[in-house]
Symmetry: C2
C-alpha cells in the first residue's frame, strides 16, 4: 500500500487514529438516485452492469467523484457469488433478485457446492483493478461481500422475505444441513473477499442485511461462528462488520469480529459505541430517510450523529443503511460537505 | 368486575401478583392457521368477518377454547377505525390492506377527521358483549387498538411499507401536519379503546407494529408524546404497550406508559425486563417462527423464555409477534400445554 493510501482519512479512522475531519462514504453511493448511474444502467441489465468491469468501474468512480466522499465502494452485488455455487439467479424487473432453485429440502443441498475457482467471479476482480488504477491516490477502495446468514436466507427463501420462515425452519429442524450450507458459503466468501483484496481493495465490508430478524440466542448459536470464520478468514485488509435490523445483536457482532462495526440508525451511536467497546471503530448511522428532508433538517441530524461520536477518533460517517432511490443528489452532496466542514 | 375475573391468572400477572402457573395467550391466536377459523372465514370477506359481531365472537371464543389459553382477544383489525376518519380502506385479495386515498400532501389532511361518534364502530362493541357473555368466567377478554404511529404510517403509505419514507418525510418536513394527524388519531383511539372497556374487555393491548423503523431520537420526539397520550387516556383497564422491531426503543416504550410491556424476540427477555424495570409486567417473547420447528425444539425454546422470566411474578407468555399461517395448530396447543405444565 502507498503511504498516501495508508494515511488516508478513511484508513486512519479505521485504525482509530486522529483525522483532520470525519471521513464519510455512503452505502449504495453509486445507486439509482444518481443520474450519472442511471445513464449507464439504462443501457444494460443490472447483471450485465455487475459483470462488465468497465461499466462497474465507471459507476464506482463517478459516484466517488461527484459526491466527494472519502472512499469508493466497488459496484457489485451480494448475490452473483451464488451462481458458481449452483443457484439460478435472476434480477426480475421491478421485483428484485429471484433464485429459481432455492433450497427447501435437505436433499437440495446435494446440488450446492463451494465456489471451486474464484476466477469464475473474475469480472469483479477486473473491476477492482480498473477502479484502483483510476481512483485518486488518497481514496481507498472498499470491497464487500454478504454475510453467510444473509446469503443463506436468499438461497433458501429464493428472494427477499418478510419472516424468513424457511431459513429459520432449516436452522431449527436440521442442524447438520444448516451447518453444511453455512460452511459452504463461508469457504466461498473467504476466497471471494481475499481475491478482492489481492486485486486491490483496501478494506472489506461484510453486509448482514437480514440477520436482524434473529434473536440473540439464535444469532449466537446458528450464525456467529460462521460470521466469525468469515471475518477471521479475510487476510490483508481491515473488515467492516455491518449488521442491520437489531441493535440487541451488537455485542455478538462485536464478538464475531471486525476492525469497524457498522451501526444502523435504530440505536443512538454513542450507546452503540459504548456497547461494542472503544477498541473498535464505528461506522454510521443516520437514517437514510432523513435525506428526503430539507437540507437544514439533514444538517441538524448529521450534527447529532457527529456529536454522538465525539470524544475519540475512529468514527466513519455513513447512513444506517443504503441510500434510497428518488432522492435529490444535492441532498447527499450537502451531507458530505457538511460532515467535512463540521466533522472532528 | 367479578372476583373470578379479578383473580384470573392473566390479570394477576398483569398486577405482578404470584400465580399458580405462567399465563399464556398468543397474538393472532384466532388466525389463519386454525381450521376452525378458516371454516368461518371462507364464507365471508375479512371486513365482513370483522363487522359481523356473531362471527367475530365465534372465532374469538373458538380460539380460546381449542387452545386453552388464559385470555381471549377480540377478533378485529387495527385499520377499520380509519374508515370513519375519512379513509377508503379495502382488503385486497392476497395483498393485505390498501388505503385508496392516503395522505401525501399537507392539504390531504383537510379531509381527515377524528371519529365523531365512536358508535360508527358499534360492531366491535357488540362483538365484545357477545364474547364476554359466552367466555368462561375466569378468562379475561382483551381489546386492542393500533398505536398512533402505526395507524399514521398506514394512512400515509396507503398500506404496508418497507422504509416508511412518506411517513418519515411528513414527520421531518411538516411538524404541524404530523402533530395534527397524530392528535386526530389519538383522540379517536382513546374513544375507541374506552368504548371497548365499557363494552366489557378487561385489558387493552396497543400494537405499535411499525415504529421499530424509528431511531430513538425520532421516536422520542415525534411519537412518544402521542403514544403516552393514548395510554393515559385509556381508563378503567390495564394497558399492554407492545412495540415490535427495535429493542433500543424499550426505555422509551416504558416511558410512554402501560401496565405490561410487550417484548418481541429480538432481545433476551431477561435483558428486556431489566431495561424496562421490574415495576411493570412483561409479555412475550418467543420467535413465532419457532412454532414451525419440531415440538421438542419448541419446548426447549419455551423453556428458555420461562427461565429468562424467572425470579418474580409478572410474566405473561406470548410470542414476540403474531402467529403465522401455515402452522400446525397442534404445535400451538403443545406450547400452551408446556407453559402451563412448566410455568412458574
Amino acid at each position: 500500500m502507498t503511504p498516501e493510501l495508508h494515511n488516508s482519512r478513511f484508513l486512519k479512522a479505521v485504525r482509530r487514529e486522529p483525522v483532520d475531519t470525519t471521513p464519510i462514504w455512503i452505502m449504495r453511493q453509486a445507486g439509482r438516485y444518481l443520474p450519472e448511474y442511471m445513464a449507464v444502467r439504462n443501457k444494460v441489465t443490472f447483471l450485465e452492469l455487475c459483470k462488465t468491469p468497465e461499466l462497474a468501474a465507471e459507476v464506482t468512480l463517478t459516484a466517488q467523484r461527484v459526491l466527494g466522499v472519502d472512499a469508493a465502494i466497488l459496484f457489485a452485488d451480494l448475490l452473483p457469488i451464488l451462481q458458481p455455487m449452483g443457484f439460478d439467479l435472476e434480477y426480475a424487473k421491478g421485483e428484485g433478485p429471484v433464485i429459481h432453485n432455492p433450497i427447501r429440502e435437505t436433499s437440495d443441498l446435494d446440488r450446492v457446492r463451494a465456489v471451486e475457482d474464484v476466477n469464475e467471479l473474475s469480472y469483479v476482480f477486473d473491476a477492482v483493478k480498473l477502479i484502483r488504477r483510476d481512483l485518486p491516490g488518497d481514496i481507498p477502495l472498499l470491497g464487500f461481500c454478504g454475510a453467510p446468514f444473509t446469503l443463506a436466507s436468499y438461497a433458501i427463501e429464493g428472494g427477499s422475505s418478510r419472516h424468513y420462515e424457511n431459513t429459520k425452519a432449516m436452522m431449527y429442524r436440521d442442524r447438520g444441513a444448516w451447518k453444511s450450507l453455512m460452511d459452504c458459503l463461508v469457504r466461498s466468501l473467504v476466497d471471494y473477499a481475499n481475491a478482492q483484496v489481492e486485486a486491490g481493495v483496501q478494506a472489506i465490508q461484510i453486509f448482514d442485511s437480514w440477520a436482524g430478524c434473529l434473536s440473540p440466542s439464535d444469532y449466537r448459536e446458528y450464525v456467529m461462528p460462521h460470521t466469525k470464520a468469515l471475518v477471521d478468514g479475510i487476510q490483508g485488509a481491515p473488515v467492516i462488520n455491518f449488521l442491520t435490523g437489531n441493535p440487541s445483536l451488537l455485542p455478538l457482532v462485536k464478538e464475531s469480529g471486525g476492525d469497524v462495526i457498522g451501526i444502523d440508525w435504530r440505536i443512538d451511536l454513542k450507546d452503540a459505541w459504548n456497547i461494542v467497546g472503544h477498541d473498535v471503530a464505528v461506522q454510521g448511522n443516520m437514517d437514510p430517510v432523513i435525506l428526503f428532508a430539507e437540507i437544514e433538517e439533514i444538517k441538524k441530524r448529521a450534527r447529532m450523529v457527529l456529536d454522538a461520536a465525539e470524544g475519540r477518533p475512529g468514527h466513519i460517517f455513513n447512513l444506517g443503511h443504503g441510500v434510497m432511490p428518488g432522492l435529490d443528489p444535492d441532498h447527499v452532496k450537502a451531507l458530505v460537505q457538511f460532515v467535512h466542514d463540521e466533522g472532528v
